[in-house]
């Protein structure tokens, strides 16, 4: 059997809070294959972001194991196999776009990496490298954040609601654009979202999580052809999958109530 790029096996995470211990994740198991696009969806408090933090070695489970390419998250991080993107671009305002991207290279010093200017071209920001972050729109700033994530040539890209702060129209465009970029680079992506259409549109598989504690409720295969054209998004299959996911999410809500 091929080693999955990301594998969680019966992972339990407990946080100590002011009101006592809080089980954020309970026996969560799933895996992501090389080059696969997997989305985590679920109500607030289901531990979606916690899962990304486990993979990136920021948090550690109290039980179970997290493996990145068969290795510990710590080793994977030290080998620069993982990068992250957040809801906000989190750029350094005193650096130009180009310097924001090359900062990632200066810190990680990867042996083999793409040319930063080509990466900026790749994310559609060619010619903007001398600009400062404040000169760019929110959507463009997120593209810089993605360029910064891609330039170190990682195997795994962790995306924590990267388009949630954008308006609906920009968000949709960014989704289409991300798919284009992903289809050319074929990184392994672990994506977190609250949006059901976004999950169906982008993913190969969607993991639906319960909250309090976070558990895997269902894993839904998105068997839609790629590229996900407008035609695919208008098709019956797409709407059926939306329905299936919404049904699962309603079940998590019923558990809550």
């Amino acid at each position: 059997m091929v080693t999955p790029t990301v594998a969680l096996d019966k992972v339990t995470v407990v946080f100590s809070t002011a009101r006592g211990p809080l089980t954020a994740l309970e026996e969560v198991s799933f895996s992501v294959a090389e080059g696969e696009f997997v989305t985590l969806i679920g109500p607030s408090g289901c531990g979606k972001s916690t899962i990304l933090r486990l993979v990136s070695d920021i948090h550690h489970p109290v039980a179970g194991s997290v493996k990145v390419a068969g290795d510990t998250p710590e080793h994977a991080r030290k080998k620069n196999m993982v990068t992250m993107m957040f809801q906000e671009p989190v750029l350094l305002p005193w650096l130009t776009i180009q310097r924001n991207v090359t900062l990632a290279l200066e810190l990680t010093r990867p042996a083999d990496h793409p040319d930063p200017l080509e990466v900026l071209e790749f994310v559609g920001l060619g010619g903007r490298e001398k600009d400062y972050p404040y000169q760019l729109s929110g959507g463009m700033q997120q593209r810089v954040a993605l360029a910064r994530a891609l330039v170190t040539n990682p195997r795994v890209l962790l995306m924590d609601e990267p388009f949630a702060a954008l308006d609906e129209l920009t968000r949709d465009r960014m989704g289409l654009w991300l798919l284009e970029v992903w289809e050319r680079s074929r990184k392994t992506v672990l994506f977190v979202t609250h949006s059901v259409p976004e999950a169906v549109h982008l993913s190969d598989r969607v993991v639906v999580l319960d909250a309090h504690p976070g558990r895997v409720r269902a894993v839904v295969e998105i068997n839609l052809p790629r590229p996900r054209t407008e035609e695919v998004r208008q098709g019956l299959e797409f709407f059926n999958l939306l329905g299936t996911l919404r049904e699962h999410l309603r079940a998590t809500q019923r558990r809550e109530a």
């Binding site: 070695d57 957040f86 989190v90 305002p93 810190l107 990680t108 404040y134």
Partner: protein, 274 residues
């Protein structure tokens, strides 16, 4: 806006471009108006008498006549203040950086720093003069103390107020603590640093001047004491004028330097105002 201008007809008649000019020259007009009315009222009524407050014009003339004396003494105070300011800030920035690396450093120095800060300068200065003698050292020490504290407090806050996600990102990028400090913490603390400078620069100068009251043979503070003893109010007002100009210029210079070194801050706030 329309409501405001109908209620304030005077403002409405000035029009937009002229109001912009007025807006900018308002502080100058206010100061000029104050001294002009002072001059006119004192000349007309003879009150207040000139041993309490000399005519503004005679202060200006006196400052011109005694310019060399004033500058020689100003230079002494500026040297004391600058040396003290540099030492105080190097200490403060150094300790703030250490406190990023170790929480214990912050816990250890903050009560001490607060205690030193709470002692009135006027009370601590004689002690420093006994300790360090009547030369420059005691004045420098006072300038160190007054400029140290604002920088320390602001730098600790500035170095620690960094976006949590940015720190997580740097962690994922394997950045060392040192890299995090140099690449992110220090640049993001620049606005706090300059906020501290705006307090520390004038206070170092005023601190050194106050220290000269206790025991000195030169300096702006020395001139203040001498002119008080001699009831030389024109001289006293001249030193006030010079001190105010120097403090103001220093403050202004810090602001300009901030604009050059931290240009992104201006853009961020401008975006907020829009």
């Amino acid at each position: 806006m329309t409501d405001a201008s109908t209620r304030l007809p005077a403002a409405a008649t000035t029009g937009a471009p002229r109001r912009g000019l007025l807006h900018r020259s308002l502080p100058v007009l206010l100061i000029a108006g104050f001294f002009l009315s002072w001059e006119v009222i004192q000349r007309a009524t003879g009150y207040p008498p000139d041993f309490i407050a000399p005519l503004p014009s005679s202060v200006v003339v006196y400052t011109g006549l005694k310019f060399r004396l004033l500058m020689e003494n100003l230079l002494v105070t500026v040297i004391e203040a600058t040396i003290g300011f540099v030492i105080g800030n190097v200490l403060a920035v150094g300790l703030a950086i250490l406190s990023v690396f170790s929480k214990n450093v912050e816990r250890a120095i903050m009560p001490f720093a607060l205690a030193v800060r709470s002692i009135p300068i006027i009370a601590i200065t004689p002690v420093l003069v006994f300790l360090l003698g009547m030369g420059l050292e005691s004045k420098i020490a006072v300038a160190v103390i007054v400029s140290f504290f604002p920088t320390l407090v602001n730098m600790i806050v500035g170095l620690k107020t960094v976006d949590r996600r940015l720190l997580e990102l740097l962690f994922v990028f394997n950045a060392s603590k040192w890299e995090t400090l140099v690449r992110v913490r220090l640049p993001s603390s620049m606005p706090s640093f300059f906020a501290a400078m705006k307090i520390a620069v004038p206070s170092a100068f005023l601190g050194a001047a106050v220290a000269e009251w206790i025991n000195a043979s030169s300096g702006i503070g020395y001139l203040i004491i001498v002119s008080t003893y001699q009831f030389n109010t024109v001289m006293l007002y001249s030193t006030m004028l010079i001190s105010t100009l120097v403090s103001g210029l220093a403050y202004f210079a810090v602001g300009r330097l901030e604009g050059v070194l931290v240009p992104w801050q201006k853009h961020l706030t401008e975006h907020l105002e829009e």
